[in-house]
């Protein structure tokens, strides 16, 4: 623990020397992470240079970078990346907008706020599987409630998942519904941290609402918004169950995200090595994106101060 620095002598004292305190405190976390995450990651990183198939008895051969070459020259992979970018991009944008509006709504104190807020927070607590299953049912043209309601406005049965655009919309709606509350929480945190006197000053200046938002509110929520974007992008990149349940990647391959594609390659086709290579490319992309965000966050932070 943090200290026992008063114990004396020998290895214990060496270990508990204040110089090593930081390292000591970090160790349990790093050990668990290393054993449970980093080690398997390195294992599959190693595999990505062989031609290993988990279903085959053949001894794997070293293949250098050929798996990476194969993955990067595969048109399918690029298609899947585009699909993923579209779904991640639109879902995160929708989450930001909805989350932001919800946060504005809940920024005020009002009676029973605790309870009303719970209504909005609940979707996050559902499993992906159940969200997928029930949204698929909602979209079903015969039994679904969405189709039922929209049939009042359309001549024919409303068929949500029949076209690529509709299928993407169906997935984005389900995912964004589930995770907008997460964005809301972060934005809410930013909104309520704006010092009141700033608003009061603005009121005296008769600043327009729009201006007030940009000059006072936005700087306070900007870093939180970026944090929300970062977390949601990382998570949505891995989006699997909702897609797999609602559309199975269809129609055709128009909603097959990189996560679904990876799953098929790793588990159904047993291209163990090739899918490891692809996964590392995905990881690389996510790391680059993350660094861009962090860079943006830091630069803004410097600008502000």
């Amino acid at each position: 623990m943090a200290n026992t620095a008063n114990s004396r002598g020998g290895f214990g004292a060496w270990l508990l020397d204040p110089k090593r305190r930081g390292a000591l405190l970090v160790t349990p976390a790093l050990v668990i992470l290393f054993v449970m995450n980093i080690f398997p990651l390195m294992w599959s990183f190693g595999l990505s240079f062989f031609n290993y198939k988990a279903s085959s008895l053949k001894v794997p051969k070293f293949r250098g970078l050929s798996n990476y070459e194969r993955v990067l020259t595969d048109d399918k992979v690029w298609e899947r990346f585009q699909t993923t970018a579209i779904i991640v991009g639109s879902s995160v944008i929708v989450q930001l907008i909805i989350g932001f509006l919800l946060a504005l709504m809940f920024a005020k104190a009002f009676p029973m706020r605790r309870i009303v807020l719970m209504l909005v927070l609940t979707p996050m607590m559902l499993s992906f599987v159940s969200v997928g299953v029930f949204f698929k049912l909602f979209y079903e043209p015969t039994f679904g409630i969405v189709s039922y309601v929209l049939n009042f406005f359309t001549e024919d049965h409303f068929v949500m998942l029949g076209s690529p655009a509709g299928a993407i919309a169906g997935i984005v709606i389900a995912d964004a519904w589930m995770w907008s509350p997460f964005v809301m929480l972060l934005v809410l945190a930013g909104l309520v941290s704006v010092p009141k006197y700033l608003y009061e000053a603005a009121e005296i200046d008769r600043a327009s609402a729009w201006r007030r938002f940009w000059t006072i509110t936005f700087p306070y929520i900007r870093s939180l918004l970026l944090l929300a974007v970062l977390f949601r992008t990382i998570e949505t990149f891995k989006l699997f169950d909702i897609v797999y349940i609602i559309t199975e990647g269809g129609p055709g391959s128009s909603t097959e995200t990189i996560a679904v594609f990876l799953y098929r390659n790793a588990f159904q086709f047993f291209k163990t090595s090739q899918s490891s290579a692809l996964a590392y490319i995905v990881l690389f992309i996510v790391i680059v994106l993350t660094n861009l965000y962090l860079y943006a966050v830091n630069r803004r932070a410097e600008e502000v101060s």
């Binding site: 623990m1 943090a2 008063n6 305190r21 930081g22 390292a23 405190l25 970090v26 349990p28 976390a29 790093l30 668990i32 992470l33 449970m36 995450n37 980093i38 398997p40 990651l41 919800l102 709504m105 920024a107 005020k108 104190a109 009002f110 029973m112 605790r114 009303v116 209504l119 909005v120 609940t122 979707p123 607590m125 559902l126 499993s127 599987v129 159940s130 969200v131 299953v133 029930f134 049912l137 909602f138 039994f143 039922y148 945190a189 930013g190 309520v192 941290s193 009141k196 939180l224 990382i234 891995k238 699997f240 996560a259 990876l262 899918s275 490891s276 996964a279 990881l283 993350t290 932070a301």
Partner: protein, 289 residues
């Protein structure tokens, strides 16, 4: 000092009415799932969709009992055990991650190592990997170490998954604290242990609660690893839930909804209890001055 959580302005019951309507619209899919839990299959698939129907408790009954095929007698399912497993595994691993993560976060914040940011970034990176890729190595490792099917295996794995989030969030809380107060305490002769437990921790309790709730939400419904790494005795609810997705009929909507509804109760309750902390914690931890 701990900043007090406060809202922008106050509003009355009229505002409550408006937000309730919006809130309920947002909540509607969940409401529909809960309704479905009380429906027979025919009602669940009725056209037009039924808002009013004769409720049945049959779905809840079949969460815990099933009819034997040969004798028709009622047998207990293992769902009770699975509920216990889910609660035990999720709470233990999120708690562990919080403890371990807090210690690490404190170090990252107060005793920066060489290459502090690199460590932090590597920690975050482990959360970005699509889980499907590490499944085979983890599965293999679990088998070799005998962790497969045990509580410890899945708990340690979930702990590892929660550490990145815990470290990042909790570190930001520590960063927010004013180190001068700690130094002053040290001057007064407080031990490091006292500084940590009596000065730092109390100030970020709300943040820790928030981290706990976030971790719980992200762990509660995990499916893939639970499917592959738990045994018959340690299976969790999300895995058991999958039996309602297909077999002799397609999705058993009523049964699935009943399990979802029951499974929502514990986490809903915890979130509700810690809600104030959740809001305050997030506020206080992530806002840069």
């Amino acid at each position: 000092m701990a900043r007090k959580y406060r809202e922008i302005g106050k509003a009355g019951w009229g505002y409550t009415a408006i937000t309730s309507v919006v809130g309920f619209i947002y909540f509607f899919p969940v409401f529909w799932i809960i309704l479905t839990a009380f429906k027979t299959r025919t009602d669940a698939l009725a056209v037009p969709p039924k808002l009013f129907f004769t409720p049945t408790l049959e779905n809840f009954q079949s969460v815990f009992f099933r009819a034997s095929i040969t004798t028709g007698t009622s047998q207990a399912t293992d769902m009770g055990l699975y509920f216990f497993n889910s609660i035990f595994i999720a709470f233990t691993s999120v708690g562990l991650a919080l403890i371990v993560g807090t210690l690490a976060a404190y170090a990252f914040s107060r005793y920066p190592l060489k290459g502090n940011d690199t460590y932090l970034f590597i920690i975050l990176t482990t959360r970005m990997m699509p889980p499907i890729v590490v499944i085979i190595p983890i599965f293999l490792m679990f088998r070799l170490s005998g962790l497969a099917g045990s509580y410890w295996g899945i708990i340690l794995l979930y702990t590892a998954f929660n550490i990145p989030f815990s470290v990042w969030l909790v570190k930001s809380f520590f960063d927010e604290l004013n180190p001068e107060i700690e130094d002053a305490a040290r001057m007064d002769g407080a031990t490091e242990r006292r500084v940590f437990f009596n000065f730092c921790i109390p100030q970020i309790l709300a943040g820790l609660s928030a981290t706990f709730v976030f971790g719980l939400i992200l762990t509660w419904n995990e499916f893939l690893f639970a499917l592959l790494l738990t045994g018959v005795e340690t299976r969790t609810v999300p895995v058991a839930m999958a039996r309602t997705l297909g077999g002799e009929v397609g999705v058993d909507y009523g049964l699935l909804a009943a399990i979802v509804t029951l499974f929502l109760i514990p986490i809903f309750f915890v979130t509700f209890l810690l809600q104030n902390q959740l809001l305050r914690g997030v506020t206080f931890g992530t806002v840069k001055k």
